[in-house]
Symmetry: C2
Subunit: 380 residues, 2 copies
């Protein structure tokens, strides 16, 4: 049987027991809330992971690409929100999904997009659910709740042929900038208020607003009120990562995904060592370098092979394409990391790290054994 | 026929004419030099690209992973240097390649690795060519030329059963820190001197040193002397990227790989726009943020759809998983970038960006047409 000592390195290890624990915790949080949990699959891009996240929930998911939508539809998921600003050029694939019977929602904040989408939906003889994207403080995409443009766009979506006004949607990505529980709770409340304010605007104008959707892992984890919401979307909570642990979304011991790597060299005169996991194995994400966080872990935090304890203060201080350079505060613990020994590297941002792999090596518990290979998709 | 206006976005576009020009230029540079060009395939990971780089050369390649070695061997390449510190645990795959008739060289700077490699080579009944890795200034891996450890390791590699001392190898990765032609030439000379010094040490000790190998795109492009070398390894020159153009390895107009993306939103009140190419489509590489470079292009430089001119000063200033935020100095040129229009994003570091895709969309010239889909591999 494969074990953590015999797997080829670098590889992506998924701890099934931690995944189940993380998924169950979020599912339990919304069970009696009146809000449906619609897990975001952009982190995992795996039907095996999605099935665990969907257990005890209504069955709908959120995706970030049409390729995810197609993949999950192929595996039987039939209620999907594509939560990235749609462009009409993507209509052939959207129409194909609708014609397969998938209940697919898309989002926009642009009236010109709505008009062109309508024209193409009519040409394809489909009817597309469109949600209005709101900006609740992230300053990326979306209309501002309370602004007249919400009703203008809502009316267009309601009236244009081939479209159906699905509701409103926002994502408090700005929660990633929070550095305290109080701040996260405030952002969660702003996220909720943006959504319910826009929903009230639409309804006051005589328009329908069946879906009032919000979501991010920090706000879903710490928000205090869901009043007026119908739906919560979040994804990274299933796996966790060092960044999320540093902003308080979960503990380090909850992180379910790590990169298994082998020590390939020592440089005692430079007080560092090398592993066979570099920029491609870890990604170049540097989330923990953001201001105000407890520790910048470089490109990853270095744990023992069983992922149960950190090796001193060791981190991946620098990466090359296929080399990771391990550094430490004070003398490097060479004795704990002989050449050929293995480590588990916890990622800064698991969405980026997992995307460097086409499969998860699944362990039942942190120390193994390796029981499954779960494929994942990438690309568009 | 597919065109740049109809391809699904984001996708990776490869300009075949620029690729051929870049490859031919490097091949011509070494044609009468007495030094063999052994192209590095870690950037392209594509047999179609490798065939162009190998035209007019001896046929050997450099790889950064065993998966590359296996892939290129499957496509008929039979002389391969695996230029990342080997660990003995990888012996089964190395032995399998040798047994297929591939002339595979590996590298180490560790006598303990040599000993364990020998034990496993004997058990597998193979003989492995091992080159001594040298550190010519990069401060990553490798022995220092002139140090007694070079001869000690050389003798071990020569004497241990199952191993054959293949020569010496170094990579002047520190050339990436150079900010002037004079600096690059000095690093090229240090790279050469490290290799020839170590080769002379081995020969003076009565040991063979058939291969004296160096390489990096900047030093290969600008070095003035190859005396005593047998081999040059470089790879990024085939594609080029904005970082390499900023350190003077080539012009912006030589960059052969770009990401085709669609404008998906405008935020006039924030003076920015959004494209459907974010962190996964571009990578999070930030090479041009390094000190002393002419311009920090964020996560990519934004060109017209035909890739012939930059759109004002537009760059990808910020990325989210699937969104790229376009920013500019001064007023944002919304008129030049209507929603639905397409741009080509030139990458910071093409090795990282290309690794986010499983294929190249090949255009014959910068404006199209799209003539081929060339697969590439990723992973280990």
């Amino acid at each position: 049987m494969l074990s953590l000592s015999t797997l080829e390195t670098p590889c992506l290890v998924l701890d099934r027991s931690r995944l189940i624990q993380n998924a169950d915790r979020m599912t339990a949080r919304f069970r009696d809330s009146g809000v449906k949990l619609r897990p975001h699959t952009k982190t995992s891009k795996s039907i095996d992971v999605a099935r665990i996240a969907l257990a005890g929930n209504f069955g709908g998911i959120t995706v970030s690409t049409l390729k995810e939508a197609e993949y999950f539809a192929d595996h039987g998921v039939d209620d999907i929100t594509y939560a990235v600003s749609v462009v009409p050029e993507k209509m052939p694939r959207i129409a194909a999904l609708l014609k397969r019977g998938v209940k697919l929602g898309v989002i926009t904040d642009q009236i010109g997009v709505a008009q062109e989408l309508s024209r193409r939906a009519v040409a394809e003889a489909v009817c597309v659910d469109v949600l209005i994207e709101l900006d609740s403080g992230e300053r990326r995409a979306g209309l501002l709740a309370g602004d007249g443009s919400v009703v203008t766009l809502g009316r267009a979506l309601h009236d244009l042929p081939g479209l159906r006004l699905g509701g409103v949607l926002t994502h408090a990505g700005n929660s990633y900038q929070c550095r305290s529980l109080a701040d996260i709770r405030q952002v969660a409340e702003e996220e909720r208020l943006a959504a319910v304010t826009a929903a009230a605007q639409l309804r006051a104008a005589g328009l329908p607003c069946p879906v009032v959707s919000v979501g991010s892992t920090p706000t879903a984890t710490h928000g205090l009120s869901w009043q007026g919401l119908t739906e919560m979307r979040c994804g990274v909570y299933m796996f966790g990562d060092v960044f999320q642990s540093e902003i308080g979304s979960h503990g380090l011991e909850d992180i379910a995904v790590s990169v298994l790597a082998t020590v390939i060299g020592h440089r005692p005169e430079m007080n560092c060592a090398l592993i066979d996991a570099g920029a491609l194995a870890l990604s170049k994400d540097r989330s923990t370098a953001a201001p105000g966080l407890p520790e910048d872990i470089g490109f990853g935090m270095v744990m023992s092979q069983d992922c149960r304890r950190r090796i001193g203060s060791v981190r991946v201080g620098h990466v090359y394409q296929e080399h990771g350079m391990l550094t430490a505060d004070g003398p490097f613990p060479f004795d704990a990391l002989p050449i050929g020994s293995r480590v588990r590297v916890l990622p800064n941002h698991v969405c980026m790290t997992a995307a460097m792999y086409d499969a998860y090596r699944v362990v039942e518990a942190s120390a193994g054994p390796v029981t499954d290979l779960w494929p994942r998709i990438n690309g568009w």
